[in-house]
Amino acid sequence: MKIHEHQAKEIFKSFGIIVPEGKVAGHAAEAYNAAVAFGGGRVVVKAQIHAGGRGKAGGVKVVENPDEASMAAQEIIGASFVTAQTGPDGKICRKVLVEKAVAIKKELYFGILFDRSSRGPVFMASAEGGMEIEELAVSNPEAIIKVPLDPATGFSPYVSRKLAFGLDMEGGTAKHFMKFVANAYRVFDEVNCTLLEVNPLVITQEDGIVALDAKMTFDDNALSFRPDLLAWRDYHEEEPLEILADRYGVDYVKMDGGIGCMVNGAGLAMATMDIILKCGSRPANFLDIKGGANVKNVIRAFTLLMRDDNVKVVLINIFGGIVKCDMVAEGILEAMKHVKVDAPVIARLSGTNAQEARKILDEADFPFITADNLLEAAQKAVSAERGLSQ
């Protein structure tokens, strides 16, 4: 789960991290009032969407007075922003964060993430703030200081010292920064983040440390420890079919193609999408129906696929293991009594009793197009899709 910048900053504040004075505005007049409340001088108006790269896309504007703040908010709210992280359709902005501008001496990058190789949290900091860390990692990896934390011992102050002195800080700045690092780790640990990023973290003209940005990703598997965070889930930021799939308890990701996929198992679901791409078309979705492909899950899968207007053809790829293929085929026929399927269905069941399953589907009233292997199934799905568009 992701949250908005203004929400992450609320969490920061409650853990003693300094953030700029700010107010959320849902329309231009609110933005105007916020700018007046901050003294009428320079403010920053920031689009609140769940994606990085907002600045480049025009979602962050520095303005000099309340009138300009109002105009900036007018432009940003309701607009759609396309960034490297949003996909081609972009994300529509519903609210802005109006913040009092901070006098910046230097911009830094700071992040904590769970690292697979060291199997624990890794702290990252760089004097090259504001830049995308991915780009920096390629162009100048030496500019990023990395300090892994031993999960068995937990946080220890040497981590902050290593980062502060690695960034050539001294005096009051170093002291403020070390306090920030310790607080940031407390946030990371207590709200169960997989990623916490502040880019930029700034040194102010007064040598203070202020988090100008705040990005957090929570570990979905740990949300039950922090049910309070669920209140901040913004359904506007999510694909409606993905929300429905979440309620169904199946794993679904909307894609942009026309071949709807129904598969059991995440790896096999990805492989199915890959082979559709290889055969010259595009999948409409990733869908892992989980478990033994029972009737309930197949009904839910068909419901999801039929609600997606992009789906022209359905490709079912199920491996029958403990639940054998003929049982899965019977389950598919049963499910189709409960949900109207008005698209060609290509079915490929593999594993035990696959031939019996194929016979059941071939003899069914519904005109299934059956296939023996995945490549053949994908080819048949692609040609069925092309046949429809002619």
């Binding site: 697979r116 068995a152 997989t194 740990a222 995440a266 790896g267 096999l268 990805m270 999948p283 491996f319």
Partner: protein, 290 residues
């Protein structure tokens, strides 16, 4: 020979009286695995199909000499269950549970490392040495004893590959699902080391997916240390960045974890890379035949 488990393996099942635990325990027994004990707190003294149930893993190990633990405990308690087995001295732990928080796994893995305990998973189908023992949830009957080792981050995609091998008459030495989570106990390199030392294994099928750099690390190991042929498939060429593809670990993020880079690294390391998952079995047949 085989790796990790064989006909002498004695298994204790943690969470044996739960729905999943009981179902898969019976499946393992039917396959011929030696399930010697179960553990469910507060159900000590009872039995499941004659298998004694204990309150603690320590007691189960003392009474039965179990040397492998199979875990079906729900995600929020699974980390604790793994630690209990490690503390009881069980050298090999197989965690099937999906959805264990990363923070919990991170602490557990640090403890296991200091004790030298091996963990397979979590979020994995387990291990099978065909014809000898099954410690997991995979359908046993699709396997056949033989000379090909299988290592995979996924479940059904592994079954798919195994089934292709079996249908072509190619058997397997041991099949190992290492798990779909970002933090796992045994990675590809660890598994390859085991297969390198196993005389019976002549070749290996390695099935990876997007996310992390474990496949790249495996490629490095294969190039420098692994002499047996490897057939490899990587799922997720079509996956967009930033989207989690089912498995918690299957996500392309921060410019890392894409399928193309993994395929290229493996091909450069001398692995036989296939981009069509239907062709895994046939590719292996070609290699073993030649």
């Amino acid at each position: 020979m085989s790796i990790l488990i064989n006909q002498n393996t004695k298994v204790v099942v943690q969470g044996i009286t739960g729905k999943e635990g009981a179902f898969h325990t019976r499946q393992c027994v039917a396959y011929g695995s030696n399930i010697v004990a179960g553990v469910t707190p507060n159900k000590g003294g009872s039995t499941l199909d004659g298998i004694p149930v204990f309150n603690t893993v320590g007691e189960a190990v003392n009474k039965t000499g179990a040397d492998v633990s199979l875990i079906f405990v729900p995600p929020l308690f699974a980390g604790d269950a793994i630690l209990e087995s490690a503390e009881a001295g069980v050298p090999l732990i197989v965690a099937i549970t999906e959805g264990i928080p990363v923070k919990s796994m991170s602490k557990v893995l640090a403890v296991l490392k200091s004790r030298g305990t091996r963990l397979i998973g979590p979020n994995c189908p387990g291990i099978i040495t065909p014809g000898k023992a099954k410690v997991g949830i995979m359908p046993g009957h699709i396997h056949k004893p033989g000379v090909v080792g299988v290592i995979s981050r996924s479940g059904t995609l592994t079954y798919e590959a195994v089934w292709q091998l079996t249908e072509l008459g190619i058997g397997q030495s041991t099949c190992l699902g290492i798990g779909g989570d970002p933090l796992i106990g045994t990675n590809f390199v660890d598994a390859l080391e085991l297969f390198a030392a196993d005389d019976e294994t002549e070749a290996v099928v390695m099935i990876g997916e997007i996310g992390g750099t474990a496949e790249e690390e495996a490629a490095h190991y294969i190039a420098n240390n692994f002499k047996k042929p490897v057939v490899s498939f990587i799922a997720g060429l079509s996956a967009p960045p930033g989207k989690r593809m089912g498995h918690a670990g299957a996500i392309i993020s921060g410019g890392q974890g894409g399928a193309r880079a993994k395929l290229d690294a493996l091909a450069a390391a001398g692995a036989h890379v296939v981009e069509d998952p239907s062709a895994i079995g046939v590719k292996m047949q070609e290699i073993l035949g030649g």
